[in-house]
Symmetry: none
Amino acid sequence: MARVRVGDMRRRQLISATIDSIHDVGFSATTLQSISRHAGVSTGLVAHYFKDKDGLLEATLRSLASDLSAAIVEKLRQAVTPRDRLAAVVAGLLAPEQFEPRIARVWLAFWGQVTHAPKLKRVQNIYEKRLLANLRHAFKQVLPAEQAEEQAIALAALIDGLWLRAALSREPSNADQAQTLCLAFIDNVMERQRTSCSAA
Amino acid sequence: MARVRVGDMRRRQLISATIDSIHDVGFSATTLQSISRHAGVSTGLVAHYFKDKDGLLEATLRSLASDLSAAIVEKLRQAVTPRDRLAAVVAGLLAPEQFEPRIARVWLAFWGQVTHAPKLKRVQNIYEKRLLANLRHAFKQVLPAEQAEEQAIALAALIDGLWLRAALSREPSNADQAQTLCLAFIDNVMERQRTSCSAA
Amino acid sequence: MARVRVGDMRRRQLISATIDSIHDVGFSATTLQSISRHAGVSTGLVAHYFKDKDGLLEATLRSLASDLSAAIVEKLRQAVTPRDRLAAVVAGLLAPEQFEPRIARVWLAFWGQVTHAPKLKRVQNIYEKRLLANLRHAFKQVLPAEQAEEQAIALAALIDGLWLRAALSREPSNADQAQTLCLAFIDNVMERQRTSCSAA
Amino acid sequence: MARVRVGDMRRRQLISATIDSIHDVGFSATTLQSISRHAGVSTGLVAHYFKDKDGLLEATLRSLASDLSAAIVEKLRQAVTPRDRLAAVVAGLLAPEQFEPRIARVWLAFWGQVTHAPKLKRVQNIYEKRLLANLRHAFKQVLPAEQAEEQAIALAALIDGLWLRAALSREPSNADQAQTLCLAFIDNVMERQRTSCSAA
DNA sequence: CATGAATGAGTTTTCATTCAT
DNA sequence: TATGAATGAAAACTCATTCAT
């Protein structure tokens, strides 16, 4: 069991080094050497823990996705109303730590690869679906099914778009402003619903 | 002059082959060989027209950006009201041809590289600034300055986000639905403005 | 420590293979492949020990220079009189091993490059200065400063010239004859000095 | 006939450009492109006048050698005594124009190649033999055959050595000083001869 | 005559992977 | 476990040569 933990630590260390390397030099310039330099270990070690480079990359994306999921789940736990749930998802996705260049850039780099790497694509799909299901479910509690689907897509797009611009821009990004814009969007959608309901 | 055109044709041919290759095998698997195979020429020819691979990649991004700019400019020409202008930008950015995988995937691939390649970054910055200026200007005609800035960012994010999800998804994307969502956003912003104005 | 030695052995092996290759096919026809073929290793190994081809070439010149320096220093150790010292330098520079084509041709090949490769130039400069200093110092013990400088240059030129003609000629060269000519030059200079002194 | 002259001018122009290129970037970095850039013509032109690159290089060395020969022959014409003849050869070989880096470096660069390029070797051999024959012949008029041969070799070596050091050093070289050293050598040899004769 | 576009072989360099220690 | 030496294939890049115009 202690053994297992040592192995897990090494794995985490290598994943972290991979993120650092992608952040520093980009995806295509990231080599096993640049990773192992970041990790302070030898190149041969990767094979020991991840079979090959692709295995390490997949594990890295999986790690990013699961960290993000965990953060959202944590915030959802305290949510009561549908608006709470939507706000929780927004808060998770646009949390300051997701805006840090170290993370945002790496997500972006992976997205550029995802379309051509089936294994990465699969990881991304899971995250994607889960996110949309969360938003759709919350909207359905206050909107008719069709509109709920539509607004879920719109909100997801808004979130991704805000995050994308943050990742692309060089200025330290403003997570607060992004969240405010999303909450405004949510409130706006809901208010229109209330208005049209009461009008009918 | 005929000479110039022959050279320009070759340049375009190589750029097109680069786009094809990135679309087919992704950014990091795109090699000079994969490009020249697509173009039906020898690998050495790239040096003749673009100095090296980076030069070709930069020219490719520049070509994508200028095509997009031209499309927007064309649509803006017929716009009269601020709403027309916003709709024109949306129509340009979310035009069906921008949703074609051949284009969308390549944009995405470049975005993954942009943060680490200063020369690419510069190209992207220009496009980015111009876009935002367009939106800001249109919004300023109907909103107070501060809100205009904010909504310009939100709309840009919504556009990018919609486009991004389309690029990431494998299903043939719905350009119409994306545009509809954006127009709804625009109308919504404007209507709220009208309401609050008349209320005041 | 054993590790270090293994690495040093490989380095020496690659340097020796470089010398062999330059001797066999010349400087410009020497490729990493011709070198690694001589060494019986793969081409990739050069990067492991010398970063790149230039690094290997620089190390090779440095190795030639340091071997030569060591030989001279060894001979100087037993020298007592100024004439001994001059004879020792001559004996070192015009030693039979310096006349072997394997060494002589490679020196010549490097000299052809030295003027255009700052890193090589630096190596050559060090060797050059040290040599001249040795000769000057010995001459100063028997000649006035100005003449000593002059004769040091002349002797150095004579040595280099003799060696150069040997390197250029295809016949197995006569190290003995070359040394004899130099010693005659030295004795001649000294005798004139004695004569003019006693005359005065 | 006018045709021939135009061709000759082009040939000279290309040879001159080759010398310039070797001087500027060295032998191995000299390409047909660097040459044609220097000459202000297209790369394809070389084939027209010299068959291929090797042909141009050979013609260049031949041109250097014939210029040098012509200079020596010119100076020999006015020589009367043996000493005059030796001085003329020295004056030709160590003339200021041969000390100019543009020429000296290029000679040196060729020497580095000569041992591996039979065609170049042949050119160099001719020059070499002619030079030695000149010196030997002059010395034979004042020395016994064996000594004449020996001193001819020594003087040739001294000349080459002086020239070599000039080519390797970066400082603008002193042709005068070099000639003075050679003349001192000559006079010295001759004086010893006279002395020993009169003594006998 | 002269150009420069185009080729394709050859060279350097990079790098994931393997393996003996 | 961990290292880093070693490999070999694949990449980018260079360049002499050819050829249509």
